[in-house]
């Protein structure tokens, strides 16, 4: 449905930044090399043929036991041209970092904090990379596939068999 977005990106980035593109269920996606993450995002925002003004969502995927382990996913939408695209960047476990998109869309700020909180992906250049959902005392990143399902990290508990 927005094949022209893929065409524009592939025409612009010819040095291997675009690893793969695809189209599924009427939505297009682009898998970019990690070091071109911000460049591709900026291009998609500014190019008159794509005009991705609106940052919809950003999250991460833990593809445990595959390489690279994590995917960072950004959903973009063009309000004026009514087209959308999904960006992927693979992030390896030993260096789970990617450049921040806050400089491109300010709205990415809390989404990146969420992805950091739950998956432990670090966003380089983020102005305030703190946990956003879990409490500061929490250890680990609970949506990683190797986080124990039954593990609890309570902040307070009352004494057993007390009336208070």
């Amino acid at each position: 449905m927005s094949q022209n977005v893929l065409d524009r990106v592939k025409a612009q980035f010819t040095a291997g930044e675009i690893l793969e593109t695809g189209s599924q269920h009427g939505d297009e996606w682009v898998r970019v090399r990690r070091d071109a993450w911000v460049a591709v995002a900026t291009f998609l925002r500014d190019d008159p043929a794509t005009k991705m003004e609106m940052f919809i969502d950003l999250t991460a995927v833990d593809r445990f036991s595959t390489e690279p382990r994590f995917d960072v996913v950004a959903h973009l939408y063009s309000v004026s041209l009514k087209q959308r695209v999904r960006l992927y960047a693979g992030v390896p476990e030993e260096d789970p970092t990617v450049e921040t998109l806050v400089s491109v869309w300010a709205g990415a700020n809390w989404f990146e904090r969420e992805a950091y909180d739950l998956y432990g992906v670090r966003f380089k250049g983020h102005p305030d990379l703190r946990r956003i959902l879990m409490y500061p005392e929490f250890v680990g990143h609970p949506l990683r596939k190797d986080y124990p399902k039954e593990k609890r990290q309570p902040l307070v508990r009352r004494q057993p068999n007390s009336v208070d």
């Binding site: 879990m134 409490y135 609970p142 902040l155 508990r157 009352r158 057993p160 009336v163 208070d164």
Partner: protein, 190 residues
């Protein structure tokens, strides 16, 4: 002897007054709040039982109604609210999430509000029907009249007027046929 007689009757009268003038603090965190509103609205009208007036300050309330899922992160806030309430005070866990964690079993959800505050009456349901809430309120009123709320027992223990181990508190089914033989209070409830 005479003094015992009069204090006993006075406690009954005070508890009778307490059970019909509950001031509730609704700690509403989730979808059960809709059902709570229904209970408070005219059709079911919790005011008929004297628990008319939600006070949105714990310092003016003696009934904490925990309505909805409690997360681990909310635990300190919930405990602080409970500690701010004047004694004697009572707690109702409204819905399965507040009672046991419900269908959440994960890193963030507290498995029941009784992990941080003593709960007097649990209401199952997802969400509970308003009739169940009214039934729970009546159960709580009976418990208040008997002086068996957690906070009431605590006060008696602290003042030395209660020599029964707190684990011997009757289960709240004791008034039902066969309930007395139902035996001991659930673990952790005493």
């Amino acid at each position: 002897m005479g003094l015992d007689f009069y204090t006993g009757k006075l406690a009954d009268a005070v508890n009778w007054a307490r059970k019909f003038s509950l001031f509730s603090y609704p700690f509403v965190t989730a979808c059960c709040g809709m059902e709570y509103m229904s209970v408070a609205a005219p059709k079911y009208d919790i005011a008929r039982f004297g628990a008319e007036f939600p006070r949105f300050s714990p310092r003016q309330a003696d009934l904490l109604i925990i309505v909805g899922t409690i997360t681990e992160r909310q635990g300190p806030a919930l405990r602080r609210i409970y500690d701010q309430m004047c004694e004697p005070k009572w707690v109702i866990a409204f819905g399965v999430c507040a009672s046991t964690g419900g269908f959440y079993q994960n890193y963030s959800t507290m498995p029941g509000a009784d992990q941080v505050v003593p709960v007097d009456v649990y209401i199952p349901g997802c969400p509970p029907r308003p009739e169940q809430v009214l039934d729970a309120l009546i159960l709580l009123q009976e418990r208040i009249q008997r002086g068996e709320g957690h906070s009431q027992v605590q006060l008696k223990v602290e003042s030395g007027h209660y020599d029964v181990p707190t684990t011997a508190i009757r289960p709240r089914t004791a008034h039902l046929p066969g309930g007395e033989s139902g035996g001991k209070a659930p673990e952790g409830a005493g």
